[in-house]
């Protein structure tokens, strides 16, 4: 009954989405306010029905209803409750349901909080949202129905893939989808602007908070996924340039560019045409990511060709939306008027450079991810594109980006003073040089590239801090004035500082991890001691343990510094009986931002065990950086001008509204 209700709710949501796709557009055509307002109620109703559908699937999983295929294939009655819930989106069908739920959530939020939007703009935005939603509802209903019943229900389910039985699954996919799908809002706004043929600075102010929300979630989602891979895969890698990762990185790069070009548009009314294009591209890349991950095309082109139903459907959605939006753009972009002028050396100029570098980086990831697929389809030739390629092509783009980064916020709008900015950054340059000298001396004989990169990161961090201290007049003015100024400074300025400093911090983590990581791979027995980076590790014991749906062998290590025990670490190897699969649970010990990492390999019959021990200096900075970026984004989101809302340039429209 619950399954059927969930299915039915989804069908109703699809019906509502179809109404929402058409009626408001007609209303806007005819100038009928009642028809335009339909968008609002349908968006909210759609959200309720999808939420009901999603809740139904969660209920089925939690109650272990093994008459539903999706539950049988991905759940087990002995599975801990948290994984019963997260298992809902740990599979294709459930994950698509989460996708449309989040889409409906964003649509609902626009409907509820979009009071200050001009009514025709809101109608168009929600209609475009509904186009996307309809396509994906149809996809789920036609090819990926999570509510299918099974003819002969088994007594027990097949359990969730053990690798996914981790808290990471609770956080990573929802965050990522909130980011991915959140960009649909800026897409809808862009299409609405193209349809209406009108776009101004107020438009940018409406779009910015939505883009920012999506970007914050995508940033934390990617970082969380990276940390999950780091601790769960067992050899401490945190980024693999895997197509699935690239699929999330591309919208992030485009979204970051979009965030910056929106600033130019909001403040200076310039770069309109480009910003619209970037909004379209960002969401198109999100759709592409969904296609890459969900169609199975990545595993192999042949697997895709053998069972192409889902893949072809998403490919069709992809073509219609990307092709349609780009054609609309080509037809209508020329009707948008170009705005404010600026000199090449200016805040706008710096943000344009940011956009150029970020989109080039995005193009690099795009070509690296899709080239092997395209080549195989066209010539049958198989090549691989992996980390070494990206390190060579993607990495160098960040050098000019990071050098230019501290200059951007210091340049004035319209016409900046590069020399003046450079003078103000002298202190940051000195900090960077001192750090460079220290690191070079410390790592004497090693590569010079790593110390240079650390110095660059310090330059970025110091530059961000100096910008703020300059603005509040710290060290120049009395403390009281400084504090007053700091309070008065827009929160978005603080956000900029944290986000930019986060970039530098992430870079420090990345460089330290890749350059000064030490490892120790060996076979050990109980009582053996081994050393790594000044720590001694003693294998105390190997003990078998029983978990809720697995058995594990846990190895207890004592961590010693100068003969004193400072902590214990207990990595383990789990065996999940239902799927007969094993996972390694690495043990991590944080010492500041540095981590010791132990994971277990094979357990020999003679009581010996293969052990991998890593010492990763400052590795946590890799994720502190993005967290700081997201924090900066959140600060910026709470900025007064976004809280209060955009001014209403279209007064005339307001006056025309019927009395309610």
């Amino acid at each position: 009954m619950i399954a059927e209700s969930g299915h039915y709710a989804l069908v109703l949501a699809f019906g509502l989405a179809l109404i929402q796709s058409t009626v408001p557009i007609l209303g806007a055509r005819w100038g009928e306010y009642s028809l335009m307002n339909v968008a609002r109620s349908t968006a909210v109703a759609q959200l309720l029905f999808v939420a009901a559908s999603f809740a139904a699937l969660v209920t089925l999983h939690v109650s272990s209803d093994f008459s539903v295929v999706n539950v049988v294939e991905n759940s087990h009655s002995m599975k801990p409750l948290i994984y019963k819930i997260t298992g809902v989106w740990g599979n294709h069908e459930g994950s698509m349901l989460l996708w449309v739920s989040i889409l409906a959530l964003f649509g609902g939020l626009v409907a509820i909080f979009g009071n200050n939007l001009p009514i025709s703009l809101r109608a168009h935005v929600l209609a475009v949202q509904a186009w996307i939603a309809s396509a994906f509802y149809l996809f789920i209903l036609a090819t990926s129905n999570p509510f299918l019943r099974i003819a002969n229900p088994p007594i027990e389910g097949q359990d969730l893939n053990p690798v996914l039985q981790d808290i990471g699954l609770a956080v990573h996919p929802p965050m990522l989808y909130l980011g991915y799908v959140g960009f649909s809002i800026s897409f809808s706004f862009a299409i609405a602007a193209l349809i209406e043929g009108r776009i101004d600075a107020a438009w940018a102010r409406w779009v910015r908070p939505w883009t920012l929300i999506a970007w914050i979630f995508l940033t934390t989602g990617i970082a969380m996924g990276s940390y999950w891979a780091y601790y769960s895969l067992g050899w401490g890698g945190w980024w693999f340039w895997d197509p699935v990762e690239n699929a999330s990185l591309m919208p992030w790069l485009a979204g970051t560019a979009l965030l910056h070009s929106l600033v130019v548009m909001e403040k200076r009314n310039a770069l309109k045409v480009w910003t619209i294009l970037l909004s379209i591209l960002t969401f198109s890349l999100s759709l592409l990511g969904t296609f890459l991950v969900r169609s199975g095309v990545l595993t192999s082109v042949h697997a895709f060709a053998n069972d192409p139903r889902r893949g072809v459907f998403i490919l069709l959605i992809l073509c219609v939306f990307i092709g349609g939006s780009l054609s609309l753009y080509a037809f209508r972009a020329s009707s948008l008027k170009q705005g404010g002028l600026f000199a090449p050396i200016s805040r706008e100029g710096a943000l344009v450079l940011n956009n150029l570098l970020l989109t080039t980086a995005c193009a690099t990831v795009f070509v690296g991810t899709l080239y092997p697929l395209a080549l195989e389809v066209m010539t049958g030739e198989k090549i691989s594109v992996g980390a070494p390629f990206f390190n060579l092509t993607f990495g160098p783009l960040f050098v000019p980006l990071l050098i230019a980064l501290p200059f951007g916020p210091m340049l004035a709008w319209k016409r900046g003073d590069l020399l003046g900015a450079a003078q103000r950054l002298i202190a940051a340059g000195i900090v960077a040089l001192i750090v460079l000298a220290f690191v070079l001396a410390w790592s004497f004989g090693g590569s010079t590239l790593a110390p240079l990169a650390i110095a660059l990161a310090m330059f970025v961090i110091a530059g961000a801090v100096i910008d703020i201290t300059e603005r509040v007049g710290m060290f120049r003015l009395p403390l009281g004035v400084t504090i007053r100024r700091a309070r008065g400074l827009p929160r978005s300025a603080w956000g900029t500082m944290f986000a930019h400093a986060g970039v530098g911090i992430a870079l420090i983590g990345i460089v330290c991890e890749t350059s000064w990581n030490s490892e120790n791979i060996r076979t050990m027995r109980a009582g053996d001691v081994t050393n790594i980076a000044g720590y001694s590790l003693k294998l105390e014991s190997l003990t078998p343990r029983q978990g809720p749906n697995y058995r594990e062998m846990a190895a207890k290590f004592s961590v010693l510094v100068d003969g004193r025990v400072i902590d214990t670490m207990t990595p383990s190897k789990r065996n999940f009986t239902t799927r007969n699969a094993t996972t390694t649970e690495a043990a991590l010990l944080s010492r500041g931002a540095t981590q010791l990492y132990i994971s277990l390999g094979d357990i020999g019959t003679d009581g010996s065990i293969t052990v991998r021990i890593y010492h990763k200096p400052f590795v946590l900075f890799i994720w502190f950086g993005p967290v700081l970026m997201a924090f900066g984004g959140a600060l910026s989101l709470s900025d007064r001008r976004l809280r209060v809302g955009a001014p209403k340039p279209a007064k005339a429209v307001r006056e025309l509204q019927p009395a309610e």
Binding site: W235, F240, V367, S384, G386, T393, G604
Partner: protein
Amino acid sequence: MSLKRALLALTIVATLATPAYAVLPDEIMADPAKEARARDLSRELRCMVCQNQSIDDSEAPLARDLRLLVRERIAAGDTDAQVIDFLVARYGEFVLLKPRLNSHTWLLWFLTPLAFSVGGIALWRQARRRARTSTERDEALSNLTPDEEARINQLIATEPVSEK
């Protein structure tokens, strides 16, 4: 542990879908310099049965075979380039995670600099064009239309002069 037994153990582990972990203690070469070369090479070679993993990261039996093969060639005195050539001759270009530049991959390699320079040139040209047209626009902007002139005069006339 004999090699055969290790391989058997690995095969079992692989079929159990253990998450990946790479180099095993018995593979490591005695000479640290040669081992470092082997590791660097391993990171550029693909485990062909895995999804986008280098043989350095992968636990698949094939990856182990390749790791041992790389070390064998290094021990036999091959240069890095010779090892790569040997593996490509055996397994094809697919084994390289960093494709070699040829007529089929030039676009892959040159797209980044191409995109950057084309974008840069386009921006530069646009900036110049706009700067040129802006001088005309500036004049149009700085001179008020007669209507605006009249309105301003009217406003000035009606504005009460406030004394500070």
